[in-house]
C-alpha cells in the first residue's frame, strides 16, 4: 500500500483547496431547502407522530447532501483528470487498482461526511439536536458515502465528456436522491410507488439515517443496513473489476 497515502492526500487536498465550492456551497443549498420547505410545510405536515416536519426534514437533507457530494468528489476528480490529461500521473506509478479505488473512495467519503456535518451544524438552529441512535448515524453515513463515492468512480471512468457526467448526475443521482424520501415519508405515496420505493436502495439509506435522528422510520433499520451493505459490496466489486480491467483508463 505504498502509494495509497499520497493519492488519498492528493484527493483530499484537491477538494479542500476549493472548499467554498465543495463544502460551503452545498451547505448553503441545503439550508435554502430547509428554509423553504419547513416554512411552507411545517404547519401542515406531520410525518411521524410527535416529530415536527423540520425535524423530519433535517436528516433527509443531511443525507441528500452527503450522497450528492460523495458522488461529486470522485466523479469530478476523475473526469477533470481525464479531460486535462493529468490522469497519467496516477497511471504511470506502481499504484495497484485497490489503492486507486480506496484513495478515491476514501476522499469521497470524507467530503460527504464533512458536508453532512456542515449541513447538520447549520440546521441546529432550526431543529433541536436529538440523536437517540448515534451508532446508526455512523453506519448509514459511512455506507451511503461509500456507495455514492464508488458510483462516482464508475461515472468518472465511464464519462468521456463533462456533459455525459452531467447527464449521469441529473438523470440518475438527482432523481434517486430526491425521490427517496428526503422531503416526504413513502407512506404518503400511492401504494404502487410505495412498493417501488422498497426496491430503491437510497430509500433505505435515508430512512435508516433518519431513524438515528428521530427514532422512527418507514422500514426496519436492520433491513436498511443489509440492503445498503449488499449494495456497497456489489458496487465496490464492480468498480474494482472495472479498474482491474483498465476500462477506459488503459487502452
Amino acid at each position: 500500500m505504498s502509494g495509497f497515502p499520497a493519492l488519498f492526500y492528493k484527493e483530499m487536498l484537491r477538494f479542500w483547496k476549493v472548499v467554498v465550492q465543495t463544502v460551503v456551497a452545498p451547505v448553503v443549498t441545503a439550508l435554502l431547502y430547509l428554509l423553504i420547505f419547513s416554512h411552507v410545510l411545517e404547519e401542515h405536515v406531520e410525518v411521524f407522530p410527535g416529530v415536527s416536519y423540520t425535524a423530519f426534514l433535517v436528516p433527509g437533507l443531511v443525507m441528500m447532501s452527503m450522497l450528492q457530494n460523495a458522488f461529486s468528489n470522485s466523479s469530478s476528480s476523475l473526469i477533470q483528470s481525464k479531460m486535462q490529461g493529468n490522469i497519467v500521473f496516477v497511471l504511470l506509478p506502481p499504484l495497484s487498482y485497490l489503492e486507486f479505488f480506496l484513495a478515491y473512495l476514501g476522499a469521497a467519503v470524507i467530503r460527504g461526511l464533512v458536508v453532512g456535518l456542515g449541513v447538520w451544524a447549520v440546521t441546529l438552529w432550526f431543529a433541536p439536536p436529538q440523536m437517540p441512535h448515534p451508532g446508526w448515524l455512523l453506519a448509514f453515513s459511512l455506507l451511503s458515502c461509500g456507495i455514492l463515492g464508488a458510483v462516482g468512480i464508475i461515472a468518472g471512468i465511464w464519462a468521456e465528456k463533462y456533459d455525459q457526467l452531467a447527464a449521469f448526475q441529473n438523470f440518475l443521482i438527482l432523481p434517486l436522491t430526491f425521490l427517496s424520501g428526503v422531503f416526504y415519508s413513502i407512506h404518503s405515496l400511492p401504494p404502487f410507488w410505495q412498493a417501488v420505493s422498497h426496491f430503491n436502495p437510497v430509500f433505505y439509506l435515508i430512512d435508516g439515517f433518519r431513524y438515528a435522528f428521530v427514532g422512527q422510520s418507514d422500514a426496519d433499520p436492520w433491513l436498511g443496513l443489509l440492503v445498503g451493505g449488499a449494495c456497497f459490496v456489489a458496487i465496490s466489486a464492480f468498480t474494482l473489476a472495472l479498474l482491474k480491467s483498465g476500462y477506459k483508463l488503459r487502452h
Binding site: 499520497a6 487536498l13 493529468n86 506502481p94 483498465g246 487502452h251
Partner: protein, 301 residues
C-alpha cells in the same frame, strides 16, 4: 554480456480499430544506452512507449523494463521507469513543489525533499516552486513533467518528444541535464522530431514506419549508411565540359549541384573544370546527416 536489458520488447502487436499501430516490434536496449526512436507521425513511437508504461496493453508480444514484465510484474516495471509524456499535462490544483511531493508519494517516497530540491534546481524550477502549475509557461510545464518523471530516480527514463515547443536555450540546458543523467548510468529512450538532437545525443537509433522497425543500428553506422555526398558550386562560365553537363544539375538560384558517392569523382570534376579554364567562384560540401539517412530509409521502407 549483461543478461538484464533495460528495455526489451519482443513481437509487439497493437491494433487501434483500422490502424495497425505496432506490427511485430522487437527491441533490446542495454542499461546505460542513450537510445533514439525515430519515425514519422503515426509510426507507432508513442504506442510503443505507452505499452512500456502500462498505459496501453499490447495485443501480442511482451515488454519488460529492467527485466520486469510490464503486465505480470507491473509494479516493479513502473518503479524502474520514468516517463515524460508528449502532451503538456499538469494538475491545476497544485503548485510545483506539491506536484513533485505528491508524485514522489505515489512511489512510496515520503521524505523526498532533498532530491526534489535538486531536480528543481537542475531544471531551473526552484524559483517557481510555490507557483501554481496553471501559471507556468509552456517550457516550465515541460520541465515540471521531466521533474515528475525523475522523482523516484528511475534507472530507465523515457522522453516522448521532450523538446517540442521548448526554446533553444532551455532545450540545451535540458539536454545537458539528460546527458548528465545518462553519464551517471541512467538508460534514456528518446523520441524526437529534431533529428539533429538525436544525431548528437543517441548512441543507437531505431527507425519506425507503419509499426515496423525499418532500421536499428548505432548512430555512427547509420550515418555511414548513405555515402551520398553533395557539392554545391558556382562557376564563372556558362558552358561546362561536355561529359559533366548531364551530371550537374542547375538549381533555381543558378548554382550547380553535384551528387557523388566517391571523392575521386569530385577530384575528376575539379580537374576537368580547371583543364577547361572554368573558374570556381563558390564551393560548399554537404556531408550526409541523419536527416538524409532518415529520409532515405523512410522512402525505401
Amino acid at each position: 554480456m549483461n543478461p538484464v536489458s533495460a528495455i526489451r520488447v519482443s513481437g509487439l502487436m497493437k491494433r487501434f480499430r483500422a490502424t495497425q499501430a505496432l506490427d511485430g516490434v522487437s527491441l533490446d536496449i542495454r542499461p546505460g544506452e542513450f537510445f533514439g526512436l525515430l519515425g514519422p507521425n503515426g509510426a507507432g513511437k508513442t504506442t510503443l512507449i505507452s505499452i512500456l508504461a502500462g498505459l496501453t496493453r499490447a495485443d501480442a508480444g511482451t515488454a519488460s523494463v529492467m527485466g520486469h514484465d510490464v503486465v505480470r510484474d507491473y509494479r516493479a516495471a513502473r518503479r524502474a521507469l520514468g516517463v515524460v509524456p508528449q502532451e503538456l499535462v499538469y494538475d491545476p490544483f497544485f503548485n510545483v513543489r506539491e506536484t513533485l511531493a505528491i508524485q514522489s508519494g505515489y512511489y512510496g517516497l515520503r521524505h523526498n525533499d532533498d532530491w526534489i530540491d535538486e531536480v528543481m534546481h537542475h531544471l531551473a524550477l526552484a524559483p517557481h516552486a510555490d507557483k501554481n502549475t496553471q501559471s507556468l509557461s509552456g517550457g516550465m510545464k515541460r520541465r515540471l513533467l521531466v521533474a515528475q518523471a525523475l522523482v523516484h530516480k528511475p534507472p530507465v527514463i523515457v522522453l516522448d518528444e521532450p523538446t517540442a515547443g521548448v526554446d533553444v536555450e532551455l532545450r540545451r540546458s535540458l539536454w545537458d541535464f539528460i546527458a548528465g543523467l545518462n553519464r551517471e548510468g541512467h538508460t534514456i529512450l528518446l523520441t524526437t522530431h529534431y533529428l539533429e538532437e538525436a544525431e548528437a545525443l543517441c548512441g543507437r537509433i531505431a527507425m519506425l514506419k507503419h509499426g515496423r522497425i525499418v532500421a536499428c543500428d548505432t548512430t555512427r553506422r547509420l550515418l555511414q549508411h548513405t555515402n551520398e555526398h553533395c557539392a554545391q558550386l558556382r562557376v564563372d562560365a556558362e558552358a561546362l565540359p561536355a561529359p559533366w553537363q548531364a551530371r550537374l544539375q542547375r538549381d533555381a538560384d543558378g548554382s550547380l549541384r553535384f551528387d557523388f558517392s566517391d571523392y575521386a569523382e569530385l577530384e575528376n570534376l575539379l580537374a576537368d573544370l580547371r583543364g577547361a579554364g572554368v573558374r570556381i567562384t563558390e564551393l560548399h560540401l554537404h556531408e550526409p546527416d541523419l536527416e538524409d539517412v532518415f529520409t532515405d530509409i523512410m522512402q525505401r521502407a
